[in-house]
């Protein structure tokens, strides 16, 4: 029987603020799971701590709501031990790029076959609106006592530098685009990063729905707002690496687009490279039994509790008599 959207929903009451961008992200995720026809018990949804962190509880799949900033290493542990699972990680911008920045960088360079979705709302939602690491210098959102004294980090550029092999941006309100982006990210062979521009109507009064829509910029000819977001693929941009020699030029091109902000904000796929080996492939070279019997599948004892692992060879090497 085909899976329906309701198969991915839970009974848990959703307590996000009315109008929160997280709703669009949740729906896009569930729609992507329907399209990908993934059985709930094959999917693991992880999250950090923050408003975004509640996501797994609303999805009928294995859900792991972790610690602030630590969703990625938990996810890596799960994926490495059982690579058959589809692992999708949600993080906040504070969660993933502030307290968890070290894991962000090191996850990029490992290139596991997983998906990481950052809910970028420019603020620390759950702690009531402090500046997040993506908030730009000098910006003051509603709850901040003073304007931001730090420059914002560029998550796309950071992702490129860290080595994510799929990097895209999408928008919480464009559910169709976001759904397709998540699907591409899940299907990507390697570590995928999706930055989602998310409104926080409660605390971020700068990067609002109206701001993304460009309501402050009315086209004098049409009288309509000029949206700030534009689609990369509609501007003739192709971030996919087809040959090894394209890695550097495409990285540079992606980097150039990554720094577009303000009046022109690109969404879509900045960069994709499936030529690089995944972490799982690298392990399989060292442990040839890994693909068939990863750690979660290995039998470690017989029915009597006798260990299956033979340490005889190691003991022989340590032997000094007899």
């Amino acid at each position: 029987m085909a899976l329906k959207l309701s198969d991915y929903r839970t009974q848990v009451f959703n307590d996000w603020c009315p109008g929160c961008g997280n709703f669009g992200i949740l729906t896009s995720l569930q729609m992507a799971l329907v399209d990908l026809a993934l059985q709930p018990s094959r999917v693991v949804i992880l999250s950090g701590i923050g408003c975004h962190g509640k996501t797994p509880h609303f999805v009928n799949a294995y859900g792991v709501h972790t610690l602030h900033g630590r969703a990625l290493p938990f996810a890596i542990g799960i994926k490495l031990a059982n690579p058959e699972l589809e692992v999708i990680v949600h993080g906040g911008d504070g969660d993933g790029l502030g307290i968890g920045a070290g894991h962000f960088v090191n996850t990029g360079r490992r290139n596991l076959d997983m998906t990481y979705i950052i809910h970028d709302n420019g603020v620390y939602g759950l702690t009531k609106g402090q500046a997040s690491p993506t908030l730009k210098l000098g910006v003051k959102t509603k709850a901040m006592p003073k304007p931001n004294i730090n420059e914002g980090v560029n998550p796309i550029a950071l992702g490129l530098a860290a080595g994510f092999t799929f990097i895209a941006r999408s928008y919480c309100y464009d559910v169709g685009h976001l759904k397709e982006t998540i699907k591409m990210a899940v299907k990507h062979k390697g570590m995928a990063l999706v930055i989602v521009q998310q409104w926080c109507p409660t605390y971020n009064d700068i990067n609002t729905k109206g701001w993304y829509n460009g309501e402050d910029r009315i086209d004098p000819v049409t009288g309509k707002p000029i949206p700030r977001l534009y689609k990369l693929e509609e501007s003739g941009y192709d971030g996919v690496v087809h040959k090894p020699e394209e890695v550097i030029p495409k990285t540079v091109a992606a980097l150039t687009r990554a720094f577009e902000w303000g009046d022109k904000i690109p969404i879509g796929v900045f960069y994709q490279n499936e030529l690089l080996s995944t972490y799982q492939e690298r392990i399989s070279q060292r442990i040839t039994t890994y693909p068939g019997t990863p750690p979660a599948k290995e039998i470690i004892a017989d029915n009597m509790g006798e260990p299956a692992t033979s340490i005889k060879k190691m003991l022989d090497e340590l032997k000094v008599t007899g």
Partner: protein, 642 residues
């Protein structure tokens, strides 16, 4: 204990102290002798002083004693550092080239050492200027000096093998000193050659160079010091023995225990364990022609190490991380997550002297309280403390059983004295390793049922299902949660769920057998009881034996699981004891505090040490003797070890 023999090699780090000690120890093992070796080094790569203490005996030994029978030095500093440790009648091997060296010109001697040194000279009323003067002083104590012309020998070897570069040749000073040692003992050279072959493995050129050096020095001492009177006789044995260090024993135990994911961030002295596992990452599966494998992941920090291991444990794979104090401090929050989510994760915790970076390469036992209390909030955990290298093996395997049976983190406390000591043992008994996975469900168990991960049960243990099992889902969260694993802040649910988790500790306390929680030594009815945990075990046992010969009886409770504390047992033994003595490698007598807290029993005497060096049998003996002879202070602080 005069039928043992204590050899020490000292030299700058990077000069081959470790390899010479390894060769020495192995050669003795091959000759049927038992060996206990202790390695001391600084947080430095090249140049600072390091030494290796090796005790050889016809029977098993589990500790060092603060005495050296043959001091084997590579440089002048090693002579100065260890000269007063050489026993009357013992000997010192040194380079003829350092006899004229002025002591004041040894720049690597630290300020704190020089202060103490000058004090000791004043006390002795001597003022040696050169190393030679110093050696003359100990000659008065009947210490024999064996100067060896290292440089000339190296030059000769250089000529023979066509190597002009002195820097390449000086690397063999360690083997020259070995050759000299064995020559003095007139020890069977065949065993030494075997050890050299073993240590230098697949490098035939290096082996032949070193064999040349060995023979040169061996023959030199045979010729020049034929009657050194060093007692090192080989013995016949049919026993199968292994020789290993603590980190290796832990690694072996974890592998046999079914560990399949090991995460770590490099730190002394824990990293050796992970590297050894990675070297042996593919292994045979018993009774089949298949192989299996363990993943070893070097993470970006210890936070990732614990959370990654926790993630893989959720899938059903036995998972562990290994670290020492600074790393465990970073793990605190992750530990709590594993606690509230009832995840069986194992942490092998190698203590060293703290706080902070403290004594990064030196021994300490100051983290018992921290292991018990780390992370905010309350959750059950089990602490297992190994007392010797063999226990490290069995405990490392067993830790997973506790973790899975009680679905909670288990901390295996080890210390630097165990990690970096080597000992010969009768080969481990693999039939003693049993794997118990606790209440672990499979797909068939949950098919068609509405599985609840945190179901309320009498024991507090909710049957566990690996994440990813087809036909079910559940949730995990670091927030308080309901039976399904969804966040809740409801007061009733919180009261019950917290109680359910905490109850597991009572279940564990009820179920874990006494023999796994304490070791008892000595006579039940002895009037004095020693209580201790961890590496002092070896020194205590030997000290007790010495006291027994002096006519004093005591018994010894070695606590292997201090949490949950085997209260009734401790109350029973200590209740009968008129003198209660605790021995620990820390300042605040942490185990004594825990016993007081849990049983109300106060210790009468405290033998403590925190100078970064393990306890030796003789200093523990002296402290105990002070107690039995009623001349001890309540608190005795041990300071032995260079």
């Amino acid at each position: 204990m005069k039928n043992d023999f204590i050899w020490m090699a000292g030299g700058p780090q990077g000069s081959g102290v470790d390899s010479s000690a390894n060769i020495f120890a192995r050669a003795c093992c091959y000759g049927g002798l038992h060996v206990y070796g202790k390695r001391e080094y600084s947080s430095n790569i090249k140049g600072m002083h390091s030494y290796f203490h090796i005790r050889v005996s016809p029977s098993e030994v589990g500790a060092i004693v603060n005495r050296v029978d043959l001091l084997c030095t590579f440089d002048a500093e090693s002579v100065v550092r260890h000269i007063w440790e050489v026993s009357p009648g013992g000997g010192i091997i040194c380079d003829t080239g350092i006899i004229e060296t002025k002591i004041s010109s040894i720049l690597s001697l630290p300020f704190a050492f020089i202060e103490e040194w000058n004090k000791s000279l004043n006390e002795r009323g001597i003022h040696p200027e050169t190393v030679g003067d110093l050696l003359d002083e100990v000659k008065k104590n009947n210490v024999k000096i064996y100067p060896i012309p290292y440089l000339e020998m190296l030059k000769e070897i250089g000529k023979e093998i066509g190597e002009q570069q002195l820097s390449k040749l000086t690397r063999m000073i360690n083997v020259l000193s070995l050759g000299a040692s064995f020559g003095l003992a007139n020890y069977d050279k065949e065993y030494v050659e075997k050890a050299i072959n073993m240590i230098f493995g697949k490098k035939p050129k290096i082996i032949s160079m070193n064999l040349l050096a060995l023979n040169k020095a061996y023959d030199y001492t045979r010729k020049n010091f034929a009657d050194a009177g060093i007692n090192l006789k080989t013995l016949r044995t049919d026993e199968q023995r292994i020789f290993l260090q603590g980190t290796q024993a832990v690694a072996l135990g974890k592998l046999a225990g079914g560990c399949r994911v090991q995460t770590y961030y490099p730190i002394t002295p824990a990293a050796d364990e992970s590297e050894y596992i990675e070297e042996n990452q593919v292994f045979e599966i018993t009774g089949s022609n298949k192989t299996g494998g363990i993943l070893v992941v070097q993470t970006e920090d210890e936070i990732a190490a614990i959370t990654m291991a926790t993630g893989s444990a959720l899938t059903g794979a036995r998972s562990a991380t290994s670290t020492s104090g600074p790393g465990f401090s970073l793990m605190a929050e992750g530990l709590g997550w594993a606690g509230i989510n009832e995840v069986p994760v194992v942490i092998n915790y190698y203590q060293r002297g703290g706080p902070s970076t403290g004594l990064p390469t030196r021994h300490g036992q100051d983290d018992l309280r921290f292991a018990i209390h780390a992370s905010h909030g309350e959750f059950p955990r089990i602490i297992v403390c190994s007392g010797d290298i063999e226990e490290c093996f069995y405990d490392a395997a067993r830790a997973f059983n506790y973790a899975e049976r009680y679905q909670t983190p288990v901390i295996h406390l080890i210390d630097k004295a165990l990690a970096n000591s080597n000992k010969s043992y009768k080969i481990f008994d693999l039939t003693l390793v049993k794997i118990e996975r606790g209440e672990l469900l499979t797909e068939a168990d949950v098919a068609g049922k509405n599985y609840r991960r945190f179901e309320f049960t009498d024991s507090g243990i909710s049957p566990r299902l690996p994440i990813g099992t087809p036909g079910a889902v559940f949730w995990n969260t670091g927030d308080e949660h309901n039976e399904l694993g969804h966040v809740t802040e409801e007061s009733m649910m919180r009261t019950r769920m917290h109680e359910k988790r905490m109850r597991k500790l009572e279940t564990a306390d009820r179920e874990i057998q006494e023999k796994e929680r304490v070791n008892f030594f000595g006579d039940e009815d002895a009037p004095m009881t020693i209580v201790s945990w961890g590496s002092p075990k070896g020194a205590i046992l030997e000290a007790m034996e010495m006291l027994r010969k002096d006519g004093f009886r005591m018994n010894f409770v070695q606590v292997r699981i201090p949490h949950p504390l085997p209260k009734k047992y401790i109350e029973k033994i200590l209740g009968n004891s008129s003198k209660k003595i605790v021995v620990e490698g820390n300042y605040s007598a942490q185990l004594a505090g825990i016993i007081r807290e849990e049983t109300g029993i106060l210790m009468d005497y405290f033998i403590l040490k925190w100078n970064g060096r393990p306890m030796s049998a003789d200093e523990v003996y002296e402290a105990l003797l002070n107690i039995v002879q009623n001349r001890a202070q309540t608190r005795q602080v041990l300071t032995g070890g260079a």
